[in-house]
């Protein structure tokens, strides 16, 4: 391990003391922050040359690569996606739990298991394909009892998983358990867990989607994932359940292999990378490929450390008991700010009036940039990403609270959305296909749609015909709202702004995004 200066140690110690004394952080948030600061003193990774100039800057000072605070010595993969179906079938020796035999035991076992699933947030980013896991047990009790138990289970999750980067999946096949889950989340209006309905034109009924839309208009979830698209991209391995696919949606909207996960996620800040280029050709042929190469090698090194040095896969019970498999992990090659990059480059070419999301030339440049990144990734090899053909998975990252003038992934900036939703959807249809490990767009919906949820159903059905990947809707007046990918309650942001404690750490991120990302100003559809 490399030595560091005493100055840096002292600066970090000051930050640790600030955390200890904080008025607004809860105990759990303080512990997590202390761990991050302690980790920041470690220097064990062999960093690629040129990285520090691209990484160690503020976002307003030209930062080009961001590692999303994963730490200096990653002690676990970023996102872990356990095979909960195996746990239901076999129980766990480490946790001393036999397989559950009824709904009471199933819910209790899951709640125990969640406390043992690590991630970058220290909370489980994936809590299971809950309809498939619970449906066999729901059939053994009367519906009122099932409803009550599942309601308590969801309340328990919201109050103990203190971070809304936590995701449950249902669908594509309608089930009694799936229906109860939708009814319960619609009633509770809680932020945790996030929820996705896998949606397949052949398997998901209109009634089931409409039940989802009605819940979403109350509580901003579920989101809707294009199931045939994801199943084609994750063709092999172990399944989350019959017809549920070999993939999951975890954290914000991340498509990941079931029974595995993602080692790491870094992101390109495309707008700032574009600022370094003299024009479109310089960007496309030199600057962008160089930054991609440095970020990929940085990710390679992080993965090497997790797999070869951290001991995680040798020692953690999840791996030892087969709930995760090392060869079902990949890594996420993320990006933000395509819109800002396109606009910046066109301005450098003297075409200031052309805007991403509106003009053909701008949108085509966006596609060209995406093809460059896609081709780069297809050529870059990592031996520990067997599940994705030895390559990373592209990810349209949703941004972080401190981002300023950075649009998530390939989204059209808030305030510049096309007047017509049809035109907006047309732009998206060119970009969703690239992002196997997730992208998504969010639409606040006018109140009148409460009377006509079929309106949203038609948009979902149409969008998946047009190869869109993932869509989220919420009612313009809901308390629970979707920030960028995760959910936060407006009432909780208000509390935090009044300097009161709030239980979910994501509320602070939502507050940042409200001020820096203008997320309350999205165009209402």
């Amino acid at each position: 391990m490399r030595t560091i200066t005493m100055d840096r140690v002292n600066t970090t110690r000051e930050k640790m003391l600030d955390v200890v004394k904080s008025n607004t952080l809860t105990h759990e948030q303080k512990v997590a922050n202390m761990a991050i600061l302690a980790d920041s003193l470690l220097e064990v990774l062999e960093l690629p040359e040129g990285l520090s100039d691209l990484l160690e800057r503020d976002i307003t000072d030209g930062q080009c690569i961001c590692d999303l605070n994963e730490g200096h010595a990653p002690l676990r993969p970023r996102y872990i996606v356990p095979d909960y179906a195996k746990f239901m079938k076999e129980g766990s020796a480490f946790l001393e739990l036999p397989p559950p035999s009824d709904l009471y035991e199933a819910l209790n076992s899951l709640l125990i298991f969640y406390k043992h699933v690590p991630s970058v947030t220290n909370f489980p980013v994936y809590v299971g394909q809950l309809d498939v896991l619970l449906d066999p047990f729901v059939k053994d009790v009367d519906e009122a009892t099932a409803h009550k138990l599942i309601r308590l289970f969801f309340t328990h999750m919201d109050r103990t998983i203190l971070d809304s980067f936590s995701h449950a999946n249902i669908g594509p096949v309608p089930t009694k358990a799936g229906e109860i889950i939708l009814d319960v989340v619609g009633e509770l209006e809680d932020a945790v867990p996030n929820l996705t309905m896998k949606t397949d034109p052949a398997l998901t009924t209109d009634d089931f989607i409409l039940r989802g839309v009605k819940a979403a208009l109350h509580t901003a979830k579920p989101s809707f994932a294009n199931h045939p698209m994801f199943t084609a991209e994750f063709p092999s391995g172990i399944s989350a359940g019959k017809d549920a696919g070999n993939y999951v949606i975890a954290s914000c909207y991340n498509g990941l292999p079931y029974g595995g996960g993602s080692y790491t996620l870094s992101r390109l800040i495309l707008g700032n990378i574009a600022k370094r280029a003299s024009g479109i050709e310089d960007f496309c042929t030199k600057v962008l490929p160089q930054v991609c190469d440095i970020m990929a090698r940085y990710m390679d090194e992080r993965i090497r450390f997790i797999v070869e040095d951290s001991g995680f896969f040798e020692n953690n019970f999840l791996a030892k008991e087969g709930f995760i498999r090392r060869d079902r992990f990949s890594a996420m090659f993320g990006l933000v700010g395509l819109a800002e990059a396109v606009n910046c480059l066109l301005e450098k070419e003297g075409k200031k009036g052309q805007r991403f999301g509106h003009d053909k030339e701008a949108n085509e440049l966006g596609v060209r940039i995406m093809n460059i990144i896609n081709d780069f990734n297809a050529a870059h090899e990592n031996k520990y990403c067997e599940i994705s053909g030895g390559h990373f998975l592209l990810h349209a990252q949703v941004g972080i609270a401190s981002d300023i003038d950075v649009s998530p992934g390939t989204r059209i900036p808030i305030g510049e959305e096309p007047a017509e939703l049809r035109d907006h959807l047309e732009v998206l249809s060119h970009f969703h296909k690239y992002f196997v490990s997730g992208t998504g767009d969010i639409f606040p919906i006018d109140l009148t749609v409460h009377r006509n949820p079929d309106y949203v159903l038609d948009i979902i059905r149409g969008a998946f015909k047009e190869n869109l990947r993932y869509l989220s809707f919420y009612s313009a007046d809901s308390d629970v709202i979707r920030i960028t990918g995760y959910l936060v309650k407006r009432s909780e942001i208000d509390k935090l702004e009044a300097e009161q404690n709030v239980k979910h750490d994501t509320t602070a991120l939502g507050m940042g995004a409200k001020h820096n990302g203008k997320i309350l100003e999205r165009k209402v559809r």
Binding site: E420, L421, R422, L425, D446, T448, V449, R451, N452, D454, Y455, L457, D458, I459, R461, G462, A463, K465, E466, R525
Partner: protein, 278 residues
């Protein structure tokens, strides 16, 4: 050909699901509470609006106002100036010229609604447009005041999935005071469409002091109820709101919730289950 005032590409309020709505210009009633009076009349080419257009979208030559929709910013300056309840922002389009603007919304819409003005003033256009929509697998709805004698237009009915009909007043003299027209044609359309399973929705606008809403809702519901087995029919009770209404008629009150609920109860008591208040 028909004068097209506007096309709304995605609408959540003009029938089931997501629909494209085509608004045609011109109306044969004169409802006091009309919310878009600028769709009532056809342009007389007086030229008043040309001077107030800030973008040059309107021009005047050889006695005619012409409109360039590519320059229009929809500021409504022309409509506010017009003394004839008309709009210069009209495109005279054939069904074949209109359809491509609907087709752009595929696959996101399930159907098309044509509204107005009074769209049934152009039955041949409707028949041609709906035939094209049907070929594309879209459902077709007419939003009307019910003055057309639908029995005389079997070709139109055969390509129309449903009609959304306004019943403004059951009493003929009240109807005349509200609309300047008799309601015999409207009531004939109500019965005919209900009997033939073509009624999608009926609406009554509630304006206290102007409309006999309780009587109208009860009698209308009684006509619909025996035919509900043919298809479900929604009754929409609409509260009057002054927004968009001509200055002279803005002083009517908005009905209270209790009145609206009692009207919905009347419709339900007659056997209608799908009753909504807006």
């Amino acid at each position: 050909m028909a004068p097209v005032n506007r096309i709304i590409r995605f609408s959540s309020v003009d029938g089931p699901g997501n629909r494209t709505v085509v608004f045609l210009q011109g109306c044969n009633m004169n409802c006091r509470y009309c919310h878009n009076p600028e769709t009532r009349a056809l342009c007389v080419h007086c030229g008043d609006c040309v001077d107030v257009c800030p973008t040059g979208a309107l021009s005047f030559s050889e006695g005619f106002v012409s409109y360039d929709h590519t320059k229009c910013i929809f500021c409504d300056a022309c409509i506010k100036t017009c003394r004839h309840d008309a709009s210069p922002r009209i495109r005279n389009l054939t069904a074949e010229e209109t359809f491509p603007e609907i087709e752009k919304q595929l696959p996101y819409i399930r159907g098309v609604t044509v509204s107005g003005g009074e769209c049934t003033l152009y039955p041949d256009y409707l028949t041609a447009l709906f035939s094209l929509c049907k070929e594309a697998g879209l459902t077709t709805l007419i939003d009307t005041n019910g003055t057309l004698d639908f029995a005389a237009y079997p070709a139109l009915l055969s390509v129309t999935d449903g009609v959304m009909l306004d019943v403004k007043s059951w009493d003929s003299s009240v109807h005349r005071s509200v609309t300047d027209t008799d309601n015999a044609d409207v009531l004939r359309s109500l019965s005919f469409l209900a009997e033939h399973g073509k009624l999608e929705e009926v609406r009554t606008v509630v304006v206290p002091g102007l409309v006999d809403a309780k009587y109208t809702v009860r009698e209308t519901a009684r006509v619909i109820a025996p035919h509900l087995s043919k298809r479900p029919v929604r009754y929409k009770i609409i509260a009057f709101r002054p927004m968009g209404v001509r200055e002279a008629f803005r002083s009517y009150e908005t009905p209270d919730t209790a009145l609206l609920s009692s009207l919905a109860d009347i419709a339900r008591a007659e056997g209608l289950s799908d009753v909504i208040i807006v």
